[in-house]
Amino acid sequence: GCGRSSDSADSSPSGQGESGGKLRIAVIPKGTSHEFWKSVHFGAQKAAEELGNVEIEWRGPLVESDTGSQIEVVKNMITKQVDGIVLAPNQKGGLVDAVQEAIDESIPVVIFDSGLDEGPEIVSYVATDNFKGGQMAADAMAEAIGEKGNVILLRYIAGSESTEQREKGFLDGLKNYPDITVVESEQRGGDNATMSKEKVDQLLQIHGESLAGIFAVCEPNANGTLEALRNAGLNGKVKFIAFDPSDALIAALDDGSCSGIVVQDPVEMGYRSVMTLVGSINGKAAEPFISTGEYLITKENMNEEKEKSLLHPEIVE
């Protein structure tokens, strides 16, 4: 279809994309209120520009726990008869039917960032290995605290697949270090920094003196944890491992308040997803799983080329 583009705004709307027109690809993130997704957006945009005849339709629910809205977005994209969908499902089971519905309407789907349950014949799955990321965090923690001591795992909200993988991976990774005790792994930081800070404030209250390390599994939790550590004057003393970067965390890495950040490559994720999808539309076969990698960044390597770009991934606008 010709759909929406700057030079054909007045052309009458028509159906499915044919040769000559631009391909419209919907990219649907888990949520739109974190930096991570803006890098994904950038990657997708970059792919579109390279390909030339592709237009990205960026849309997602506001918060990452809102499965109902995400389903509505998918269905709206089916209505718009886009030429393909790139989706990071909020729940691995919840989006199965919506994806199936898209495929039934002959719209191909690529899944990224978080897994989808078996069933629908998706083109490919493009993601970080989050379990492995969790294990890397465990190793980094062990190194930071000298392989012994008490640590806390601060969980994200319930029900998010990717972060659950990290939590599992972290606990699994610590099994290799018999002298490390997990003194608390049942508390959740919620999806905002204020709540995380309050939680960690209280946890430090209980375990403060005897604590060696703490791991926060994603950006908002890490931001709150960092503030709580600073507030208690324990930054640097209690070793802190984070997942996903933010300006605050990068500064913390620099001043020693944070010992390591496990990062993903969101730009690559967006880029590869769109590339794979368009390739498959044009008849190219795709790998069932494409890993975009996971990296540990510490004070030592933070200024190296690759690491620097991962810490400051490009974002749209």
């Binding site: 759909g3 028509s14 960026w58 726990s65 499965t67 509505e72 709206n76 089916i78 519905e101």
Partner: protein
């Protein structure tokens, strides 16, 4: 009195008729649909009123409308229920857990019926708990249900072990699996070939039921009286606590049915999904002309209110209005729609005074 009656001007009759037909919300909805249709024609994909789009929209509206019918009753009775959202997902979660741990669908028809009964009973119990606390302690509904809101959330999390409960496809009977189906395979609909989502059919049936109950039964009139002036109701011999208790319990049943739809829509139960839903449900009622001070509200209006919400949402998506701006658009339209609705009550007065001048 006949002289007096004849003095009744036509304009007032006209306004009253508007009131009965819920023309306020209806006009608001029509304007919104027209707006998006035209805008979509120019800037969008032109599919805003396609069959598929309409089905999708109706289904989304049904997900709000069903629990909102219970809320309509509560609001008419002068109450409010902030726990509706988490009670809804609690019910959905119970269903999910039940299905997951149960036998395959083919072997378990009895089990399934038992499970559904349990879900409905759970919703009813949530409502009854609210009702009992409100009538028994005299604490305002806002606070009671603010409290039960987090309690239901907590119970849901315990049941789900704090995560998303997914029931595999083979455990779901066909009808449940396709309860919210809006795709284009005709045979998946309840009435083979007639492509109206089952969720929508259910809403229509329930709406007729509730509407009849509110307008034509003694219980319905008592509900209205309780919401309009509780002391008057007491004076007229209406058993106020019993009426309220019944209203909340019945509303709980609708919440439970809403929970079943919620589950069928996403095939998951996650208790946290419900936080925030209550405001959406209440908004549907109020957009449909319900008054939070009680004594006013209608099921038809509520359905229109739900449609207004989902239409704006899907319209914004289909027009590719960025997320941020659609938040603003949604907020603004909610306020405007209620303003439109108020116009027929002659409010705000200063405006009418100005016009009359």
């Amino acid at each position: 009195m006949s002289e007096v009656a004849s003095r009744e001007s036509n304009s007032s009759q006209w306004w009253r008729l508007l009131g009965k037909l819920q023309l306020g919300p209806l006009i608001a909805l029509a304007v919104i649909v027209a707006f998006f249709y035209i805008a979509d024609g120019y800037w969008g994909s032109g599919n805003f009123l396609s069959d598929y789009s309409i089905r999708m929209n109706l289904n989304a509206a049904a997900l709000i409308a069903v629990p909102a019918m219970g809320m309509t009753m509560i609001i008419i009775a002068g109450g409010i229920d902030l726990s509706a959202g988490t009670a809804l997902t609690l019910c959905g979660t119970i269903l999910a857990v039940g299905l997951k741990t149960g036998p395959d669908a083919a072997d378990g028809t009895m089990y399934l019926f038992g499970l559904l009964a349990l879900v409905i009973a759970a919703g009813c119990a949530c409502g009854a708990a609210n009702g009992l606390l409100i009538t028994g302690t005299n604490v305002v509904p806002f606070i009671v249900t603010l409290g039960t809101m987090t309690i239901f959330l907590g119970i849901g999390q315990i049941i789900s072990s704090e995560s998303t409960v997914y029931a595999p496809t083979e455990k779901l009977p066909q009808w449940l699996r396709y309860l919210c189906y809006t795709g284009s395979v005709g045979s998946r609909y309840l009435m083979n070939g007639i492509m109206i989502p089952t969720s929508v059919l259910i809403s229509i049936a329930l709406a007729l039921l509730v509407s009849g109950m509110l307008n034509l039964t003694v219980f319905g009139r008592n509900t209205l009286a309780v919401g309009s002036n509780e002391s008057t109701a007491r004076l007229c011999g209406i058993n106020v606590p019993a009426t309220k208790l019944l209203v909340y319990s019945l509303a709980g049943v609708f919440t439970a049915i809403g929970g079943v739809l919620y589950f069928a829509n996403i095939k998951n139960g996650n208790p946290t999904d419900g936080s925030g839903k209550e405001l959406e449900i209440i908004a549907a009622v109020v957009l449909g002309g319900g008054s939070l001070s009680g004594g006013r509200g209608s099921v038809l209006g509520t359905i229109l209110g739900a449609l207004i919400i989902t239409t704006i949402r899907s319209g914004c998506t289909q027009l590719s209005i960025p997320n941020t701006y659609s938040q603003i658009v949604i907020g603004a339209i909610i306020i405007i729609a209620v303003i439109v609705d108020q116009l027929r009550h002659g409010s705000p007065e200063w405006l009418f005074r100005m016009i009359r001048r």
